[in-house]
Amino acid sequence: MKLTLKIWRQENTNAKGKMVTYQLDGVDGDMSFLEMMDILNEDLNNKGEEPVEFDHDCREGICGACSMVINGQPHGPQKLTTTCQLHMRKFKDGDTITIEPWRAAAFPVIKDLMVDRSAFDRIQQAGGYISVNTSGNTQDANAIPVEKENADEAFYSATCIGCGACVAACKNASAMLFTSAKISQYALLPQGQVEATTRVENMVRQMDLEGFGNCTNTGACMVECPKGIKLENIARMNREYLKAETIG
């Protein structure tokens, strides 16, 4: 099939970017979206132009590197799917596809479609862990039973891949789904209780410092999340935060 691609090109963080239009022929429905981008880049490369820069790595939907806003939707039109797992059969011959980077003040563009998501790392560093030594002198793994329902919920929260689609989708560029998923994982496990108060305070403080917007409960984050992380996590974070600030 033949496509018209409108792609955001930006030399570096400080440069002014713009949308550039490309025509691409020979796209096959079996290609993944990123393989389509590979062909475009090979084309550009052959013409002596600089290829489009974008983040990607595992190409099986788990590393969370790929990050494109396709026709206004993070990771494109297919639900519960990362950009790398989106296939071109979702598009028609003659389609025009707009491709933009994640847009947020806290995610500055590095180049073209590649953004800096280190804010997410810093939120995790502020408290997204249990302070247990890794030298192996811990108690037996089965010493503390965990209710299966809580263990499963903690797991679902922990399946967040940290791609940032929630921020990209949110009209306020809020990072609450991401932050709350990590807080929830620990809030649901007995191991996480000891540091629950400081964890939620520190992670929320860092999230605010990074310049993400406020949550207005539109729910766009959950709809666009490729892993189906639920809004309940945000409610749980709000509870945890109130608990931390009032009871301590």
Partner: protein
């Protein structure tokens, strides 16, 4: 405590609590207003009570005004912050693919309601204040019904009234339920009933206000 005021989560709480407070006020307001349709005497009686009871006048009224101001000011502050969080906008829009128009445009519905409240304050509250404190008229516990009915005579005011309440309904459609999510209610799965209640309420109360306006308008002109 200071963190509670500064943080984004605290702001959610403030919006939610002030919003819920306004919802309660609106309900109370509606209950009084609907008596104007059913029993004008009761309407006069209750209105007089609200207008002259010192507890209402000097304790509840300032709280209400504060609630309104907090909700609107915070709403505008949030809007400015949220805009700053995405300085460069997307060229393409997903439309309603991931979130409803209503949830994305609370600022629009909110500002229209705010504008309406300006008119409303001018119509009733400013008038009331002037009547009581500037002109220093004597108490008249029977004047409220006539005054109210008279306000709904001009069609332009009824039209504005209807528009404002339709937008208020939209505002509440997202906001009422949203306030529980903000306060950490175990909503999504466990609170289906609560969610349904907020949605029904968001339609019913504004529809009731519209009904009252139309009722008096039609009764008066006929």
């Amino acid at each position: 405590m200071s963190a509670l005021v500064k943080s984004s989560l605290a702001r959610k709480w403030v919006m939610a609590l002030s919003g819920l407070f306004l919802v309660v006020f609106l309900t109370q307001h509606f209950v009084i207003n609907i008596t104007s349709v059913i029993a004008p005497d009761t309407f006069n009686e209750w209105s007089h009570f609200m207008g002259y009871n010192p507890l209402v006048q000097y304790a509840l009224q300032p709280v209400l005004i504060a609630g309104i101001i907090i909700h609107f000011v915070m709403g505008i502050v949030l809007e400015i912050q949220n805009n700053k969080a995405r300085p460069i906008k997307y060229k393409s829009s997903p439309g309603n693919a991931n979130a409803s128009w209503v949830s994305r445009n609370m600022i629009i519905t909110g500002l229209v309601v705010l504008a309406f409240m300006g008119l409303h304050m001018y119509d009733f509250w400013v008038h009331e204040m002037a009547y009581k404190y500037v002109e220093v008229n004597p108490e008249d516990p029977t004047r409220y019904y006539e005054e109210t009915v008279e306000k709904f005579a001009p069609i332009w005011r009824v039209v504005l009234y209807v528009i404002a309440f339709v937008l208020l309904a939209m505002h509440l459609w997202h906001g009422f339920n949203s306030s529980f999510q903000s306060m950490g209610a175990k909503s999504v799965n466990k609170g289906e009933g609560l969610k349904k209640f907020t949605k029904v309420w968001s339609i019913l109360i504004p529809a009731g206000f519209i009904f009252i306006a139309l009722f008096h308008h039609l009764n008066h002109t006929n």
